[in-house]
């Protein structure tokens, strides 16, 4: 029991270090610096805000140390929002935007003008989540295991503060894709023993990063857990045809060798004849 908890703590720490977990910002006021090293100097900036509440984002200009001005025009895109762009530059180092996101989902923050560091400013995201229920603390554990060549099993165990299983509640599984997408896989209901299982289709050799979340409610609090496995087997990559490969298909090379080789060898015999002419004549 203790070992399992340490497992959970260590895995959570590793994952928290490797994958930038969203910054929880209950206060709905966020400050983001915008510069050539990314939003808040991060490449994959993510922030969580709660749906249904007013959000104020303050963008600050972070490139003041540059000799020339590097203005950024920030656009926030997403379902349910239609916002004007805001510009930060040396002359306008602070810009604010206020809105109330109504739908859950992900909003994209990107800079839409050519600027230094643009490649780091096209993929910031705001996760609009349902307000996290507070209540009695619950804890979730997620285990992933390969099932066969094409699928994996995600098993979740939901317990309350005392360690008793919580049954009959939905647990939402989400696949985090390698381009920052979050695909909802399903929301099975926990069984008597507090476990829920979901079959996830996967490709051989694929790394699966899956998180499970319990929304809370009825006096129970929110909890979530992420886990990752790599499927066994060799990953599938796109096959490259013989016409497209950098090396020639051997049959083609051989045919060319034989045809052209034959011709050049014949040239050689003719040249030989010419030299015999020479040796038989005037020097």
């Amino acid at each position: 029991m203790l070992r399992k908890k340490r497992h959970v703590v260590i895995s959570t720490l590793i994952i928290a270090l490797l994958f930038p977990l969203p910054v929880h910002a209950h206060g709905q006021a966020v400050t983001i610096s915008v510069g050539r090293d990314g939003y808040d100097d991060m490449v994959n900036y993510k922030v969580d805000v709660e749906a249904g509440h007013e959000v104020t984002i303050t963008f600050t200009y972070d490139d003041a140390d540059l000799a020339t001005d590097n203005p950024h025009e920030i656009q926030i895109l997403g379902a349910g929002v239609d916002l004007p762009t805001v510009t930060v530059s040396r002359d306008h180092p602070v810009a604010t935007i206020t809105f109330t996101p109504t739908q859950t989902g992900t909003l994209t923050i990107l800079c839409i003008v050519p600027c230094i560091g643009m490649e780091k400013l096209v993929g910031g995201s705001i996760h609009v989540v349902k307000p996290k229920e507070s209540g009695l603390s619950t804890s979730l554990a997620l285990a992933l295991s390969p099932r066969d060549e094409e699928s994996a099993l995600a098993t979740v165990t939901l317990v309350d503060a005392r360690g008793d299983p919580i049954s009959g509640v939905p647990v939402t599984f989400t696949l985090h894709t390698s381009v920052g997408g979050e695909l909802e896989l399903g929301s099975p209901i926990t069984r008597e023993d507090g476990t829920a299982v979901l079959k996830v289709s996967a490709a051989p050799g694929q790394s699966l990063l899956i998180s499970a979340a319990f929304e809370g409610g009825n006096g129970l609090g929110f909890s979530e857990f992420s886990s990752e496995i790599t499927m066994p087997g060799d990953p599938e990559t796109t096959p490259i045809g013989s016409l497209s490969s950098p090396t020639p298909p051997p049959v083609l090379a051989l045919i060319l060798l034989i045809v052209l080789g034959g011709i050049w060898v014949t040239y050689g015999t003719v040249v030989y004849q010419v030299f015999r002419i020479r040796s038989g004549g005037v020097k």
């Binding site: 013989s242 016409l243 497209s244 490969s245 950098p246 020639p248 298909p249 083609l252 090379a253 060319l256 052209l260 011709i263 050049w264 014949t266 040239y267 015999t269 003719v270 040249v271 004849q273 010419v274 030299f275 015999r276 002419i277 020479r278 040796s279 038989g280 004549g281 005037v282 020097k283």
Partner: protein
Amino acid sequence: MTSIFRDSSKSVMGSLNAQEKVLLRPVMEWGRGFYLTVGGLAAIAAVGVFAYFTQLRDGLAVTGMRDTVSWGLYIINFVFFIGISHVGALLSSILRLTGAQWRHPITRMAEAITFAALLMGALMPIVDLGRPERVLNLITNGRLQSPILWDILSITTYLTGSVIFLLLPLIPDMALLRDKFANAPAWRRWIYKIFSFGWRGTPEQHARLERSMNTMAILILPIAVMVHTVVSWIFAMTLRPGWNSTIFGPYFVAGALASGAASVVLAMAVFRKMYHLDKFITLDHFKKMAVLVLTLDILYLYLNISEYVTLAYKMQGPEKAELGELFTGRFAGMFWTTQIVGLIVPACLLVLPSIKAVTGLSRIRPLRPLPLAVGGAILFAISLATPFAQSFLGTDLSLLIAVLRVGVLMLAGLAVLSLLPWLQARPVTSFVIASALIVVQAWFKRFLIVVPVMENPFITEGNAALSLYRPTWVEWAITAGAMAGFLLIYFLLSRLVPIVSVWETAHAKSAETVAGPAHSPLPVPTSSPEV
């Protein structure tokens, strides 16, 4: 500037027989005409080189090519020159293998055309490259699956074969010059010594030479077919509508042979005049070449019809736009001119001497070209002035204009008819005009193969103006420079070595005096002949 060799060569010329004197005179005497010609051609080529340096400095943006039409005049010139280069295979190989004895005076001019054309043709894609300094990547990083690599392999192979096939029959003539042209400058004496390969004319050497020439004759023909087939495949291996055609291999080879044969007829006529070779290049040679050119011309016309009629019947989606441009659009003038004036009219001109009915035409008194032309011009002038008269007088003269236009066309047609007996009496002129038309047609046909297809891709620009191709001065200058370069190399060759093979014609002439002349009698023309 009189020939610096004239006095000294007189004594040299004394040791030559009559035939050799005529054939070797251009080689031994470089007069004012020579230097003027070389100078003029070199000047044009220099303009081309200057244009190329502009392109190197500023990039290919100085041409008219853009992302839609990304291949232009350079690739057109490339295909044109490689096409012309097939004449060597045709004459030296096919005629040799079929035992046509009349080929002897013209094989060397044909092989020389092949050599010069291959050099210029191989140069054109390099001029077209965006990074020419990396051309060696084709060897170090070459991919055998690419049609361009096949081009490179086959063209270098063909060039080597042509050089060998040019130099082999040159050996006895080089020996002749080595022995008889003692007053040549040192560098030329050195060339003649090296490339005569110690020729003494022994039977053993003759046997080896014959054997080598037989081998090359058999070899060079499939190589030539292979060359232009792979050249056509840089187009046919793409998916573009208009290029994605299985017929391209034979299509291009036929076009190459036709334009090559026609260019030899032009060379024959020019050299005959320039070097006074009437005894060697006779009317009979022209007539036999005319048969060849006619056959290849008809073959090419057949393949053209094959290609375009099968496309036009279906008007398949992507091809519809391209065919529309060709048949009735921007390229209609060029297309119909190349087909009618470039292929059908030459065929008529080539058969003209055999049409007995034409001689009858000259008996019709009113049918004389000058009065008909004058009459047509007058009517045309009236038809131009009539609209002004119409607005002045206020009456409707459109019927008069229509009648005048019909009249102009009729008189033009009659004028053309009246020219026919005149042409028939001058068969060489007929053949030369026909050949010139075919050669010019070949260049414009290559233009029509490349440009309209590229202007009409699957997914077209909305703005048609952006996709039009307008060649710039750089491209025209480089084209002119390439043509001048080709002529320069060819001309220099004809002055360095006898353009008619001395030993082969002596050989043939002696065979002929034994067997008798091999040509058939002609219908006697009424006006002065041109033999």
